[in-house]
């Protein structure tokens, strides 16, 4: 392509086989179709993989997937609980990500909320038993301490970022390990029998009421309310607007008179508080126990949920449901077909690959240059003609 004769020819010769342009906007119909195709394709591929690897009937395998998520009332509640946990933590981190604050410390912020809750339960066990403290006061105390610890864990990196421009990704990540080590220390102090977990036989009080239905009920309701709150907060409140502006461009934000420092710290305080609240719900509502693995990586999965849904709380409900359904289903498949957990990770991996991959087709349009394609498949004269025409 040296020394092009003229501009026109240059353009023609350089045109690649495939080129990609950004789409302005996908229609709702289009986005639904593309996503449905992706999920379907993923299920087919996962089915083929299952069949080849295990020689089991894929229909049976899919049935077992549903069984895992909805097979019995225990499993339905378990699915709802896991959905509420993942969605709640995703909602908690969303304001920070909307602001392009890379908070990789949600795991630690939730864990510190768990620890605060468990610590209060352990500390005031005897006060409840001796009757010197009513149960509701303990629950209130647990809630307040958990939220405050979540705020502290979120705000420390935010202050450093706002004041000195430190890297928040590393800072928040390292705060996770501090939280984990503090829990390890608590385990040694609270339970001297050497267990890896401090359980309901020690954390005997401060459990959230079940109302005769399920211990997960309150947590599910709280997360449902939180979803609505976050939708309104991000979309219609002044704070939500400021967060969006800071996320797009800090300079613009400064120009229109938004205090960037204030927004960063305030938003991380909110994120931390909600993470602390989730920690409270986990220990006081769900497990009545604490161990360093209690959040089970949800603080990181939440990042994916939040981004996949483009920070829209209603879409986040769908993405987190998909992830929870997959993991519950795949666990059931490995149990009923005698496979181990690696299998469920393979299936989840295949499906996520398609889901994330289909975002590409929603955001970009692929153009294939037909004349180049023809040239490749041996119809050289046609290509020559095209070149002549250009001349």
């Amino acid at each position: 392509m040296k020394n092009p004769k003229n501009k026109e020819q240059n353009a023609e010769v350089r045109e690649p086989l495939i080129h990609i342009t950004k789409r302005d906007m996908s229609t709702v119909k289009r986005s639904i179709t593309v996503r449905a195709i992706a999920i379907l394709a993923a299920l087919v591929l996962a089915g083929i993989a299952t069949m080849l690897l295990t020689k089991n009937n894929p229909i049976k395998v899919y049935a077992s997937f549903f069984e895992g998520a909805f097979g019995s009332s225990t499993q339905v509640w378990s699915t709802m609980k896991n959905l509420a946990l993942l969605l709640g933590i995703s909602l908690a981190i969303t304001p920070a990500y909307r602001m392009r604050f890379w908070n990789t410390g949600a795991e630690g912020q939730v864990l510190i909320g768990c620890l605060a809750t468990a610590f209060m339960m352990w500390k005031f066990n005897t006060s409840i038993e001796s009757g010197s403290m009513p149960e509701w006061l303990l629950i209130l105390l647990m809630l307040v301490v958990a939220v405050v610890s979540g705020i502290i864990w979120g705000v420390i990196p935010a202050i450093f970022k706002a004041q000195w421009g430190t890297n928040e990704t590393l800072f928040t990540l390292m705060m996770n390990y501090v939280a984990i080590q503090l829990i390890e220390y608590f385990l040694k102090v609270a339970d001297r029998s050497g267990s890896n977990t401090v359980g309901p036989t020690i954390l005997r009080h401060g459990w959230l009421p079940e109302f005769g239905i399920s211990r997960y009920l309150i947590g599910i309701i709280v997360v449902a309310l939180l979803t609505v709150f976050m939708y309104i907060y991000l979309r219609y409140s002044k704070h939500g607007y400021e967060i969006a502006v800071v996320g797009e461009s800090e300079n613009t934000a400064r120009y229109i008179g938004i205090s960037v420092k204030k927004v960063i710290i305030r938003t991380m305080a909110l994120s931390g508080a909600l993470c602390g609240l989730m920690g409270f719900l986990i220990v006081a509502g769900n497990t009545h126990s604490i161990d360093p693995d209690l959040v089970a990586g949800r603080g990181f999965t939440a990042i994916m949920v939040s981004w996949l849904a483009k920070f829209n709380p209603l879409y986040m409900l769908l993405t987190s449901f998909l992830l929870v359904f997959l993991s519950q289903g795949a666990t059931e498949v490995s149990t009923s077909f005698g496979l181990n957990d690696d299998y469920s990770e393979i299936v989840t991996g295949i499906i996520l690959f398609f889901i994330i991959g289909c975002e590409f087709f929603l955001n970009y349009e692929v153009h294939i240059n037909r004349s180049r394609l023809a040239a490749i498949f041996g119809r050289k004269p046609a290509a020559d003609e095209a070149e002549k025409e250009a001349e």
């Binding site: 890896n196 359980g199 036989t201 497990t287 126990s289 149990t335 957990d341």
Partner: protein, 424 residues
């Protein structure tokens, strides 16, 4: 940068492989392993199991963990021997020590399992909750401590007298030390055993003390140095601890932690090793002596058959040599001293006859604390918030380990054993 990292890793791995091959070369000329003096007994069903009977298992990890693999293998052995189908044995793996365990237990009960078993210490409080919620299903838990005082009739604990197995392995270690003393490799006062422990819990202390006592029963001058890692499975920490002990003068090693860290450190250094939970002979043919392990098959058979017959499962069951719950690997004749097999077989006979006690407090120069013989010791047997020492453990001249509760409660540091660290 990435390329450099990749190259670096390749180089490290190649070097690693080379050292492995160099140290653990093939061993075709050697005498190899003897038959096991204490093998897992054959499982013979005593009752017809109806087709609708189901048992559920809850495991903390999967086969990749040696701890869980020991349970999973036993469950599969019993399944095969009793002709149970895939539908009759449901295994849930990777169940966390949280409400996940409770949900899994309830789910298994609701699927029609007559018996639900969980394998990890931290599962206990959730299994107890599940037992209270489903009174018609039997819930069994390994290594737990609550059943004998909880008063929940369908909740049960189990363990094994593994300290007897460790004592037998200790005899092989002691004879090896004697051989070194006779050969002049070491003097009698340099007969130092190293021990890599996970945590300073009673289970580990009971195990290391019984290993030590087994060695001391044949080699009176033996002493032991112990290094804790603070983790049940940490290959690097265990290897480091073993190397530290060897540098501190240990001429023989044993361990209570689940990785290959300590055995491979011993193979590299040429230090004889008594391993745990299965033979490491294949990886370490030059240094492996013998290994003891808990065999869970007899307990699984017991709970299945009791449930079928409608008989009560014991609240707190502890299997010993007689029940087949304690097993030994073969003895490696290339590393062990001559006469080891005979000595172990004699001790097994004494255990079976009931004339030998591991924690014998009446023998002279055997178990002393600060130079004094042990005449009384209050152990913490019943779980309570204040960790109160509640039970006199010494009776008829021995410390009655695992008699008042299946999970070990011997937590004394006796003379001759030195903890190099004790933070865990």
């Amino acid at each position: 940068m990435k390329k450099f990292l990749a190259l670096f890793l390749v180089a490290v791995m190649t070097l690693g492989c080379m050292t492995m091959f160099a140290s653990c070369g093939d061993n075709t000329d050697g005498k190899g392993m003897t038959e096991s003096p204490l093998p897992a007994p054959e499982i013979k069903g005593t009752v017809e199991i109806p087709a609708e009977f189901k048992i559920g298992f809850i495991f903390l990890h999967d086969e990749n963990s040696t701890y869980d693999a020991n349970f999973i293998n036993a469950a599969n052995a019993v399944k095969k021997a009793l002709n149970l189908s895939d539908d009759q044995v449901i295994m849930k793996k990777n169940i966390a020590e949280s409400d996940d365990c409770y949900n899994a237990a309830i789910e298994l009960a609701d699927k029609g399992c007559k018996v639900v078993f969980a394998d990890s210490f931290g599962h206990e409080s959730f299994m107890l909750q599940a037992a209270q919620a489903r009174p018609d299903t039997e819930f069994c838990h390994a290594t737990g401590t609550l059943a004998h005082t909880a008063g929940v009739p369908n909740y049960h604990n189990a363990f094994a007298n593994i300290y007897e197995g460790r004592y037998l392995a200790g005899i092989v270690a002691g004879l090896k030390l004697n051989e070194m003393i006779e050969n002049g490799t070491i003097t009698a006062d340099k007969a130092v055993m190293g021990y890599v422990g996970a945590f300073t819990y009673a289970e580990v202390i009971s195990g290391l003390t019984s290993t030590y006592l087994g060695a001391k029963s044949v080699c009176p001058s033996v002493t032991m140095k112990v290094q804790f890692t603070g983790s049940w499975y940490a290959e690097d920490l265990e290897q480091e601890a073993a190397t530290a002990l060897i540098n501190a003068g240990a001429v023989l090693m044993s361990q209570h932690a689940d990785s290959m860290g300590a055995p491979s450190a011993c193979e590299i250094a040429g230090v004889p090793d008594v391993s745990y939970n299965g033979s490491t002979f294949d990886a370490c043919p030059e240094t492996f002596l013998v290994s003891s392990a808990i065999n869970w098959a007899p307990y699984f058979q017991l709970i299945i058959e009791s449930a079928v017959k409608g008989e009560a499962i014991p609240a707190d069951w502890c299997g010993g040599i007689k029940e087949g719950s304690v097993v030994l690997s073969g003895i490696n004749e290339d590393a062990a001293a001559e006469g080891s097999l005979k000595a172990v077989e004699d001790a097994i006979a004494e255990f079976k006859a009931g004339t030998l006690h591991v924690f014998d407090t009446s023998k002279d120069n055997f178990i002393t604390v600060n130079g004094q013989k042990l005449t009384t010791y209050m152990a913490d047997v019943n779980t309570d918030a204040n960790y109160e020492k509640d039970t006199e453990a010494i009776k008829n001249g021995y410390f009655a380990e695992s008699e008042y509760r299946s999970a070990p409660y011997f937590d004394l540091t006796i003379d001759g054993i030195e903890f190099l660290n004790s933070k865990f």
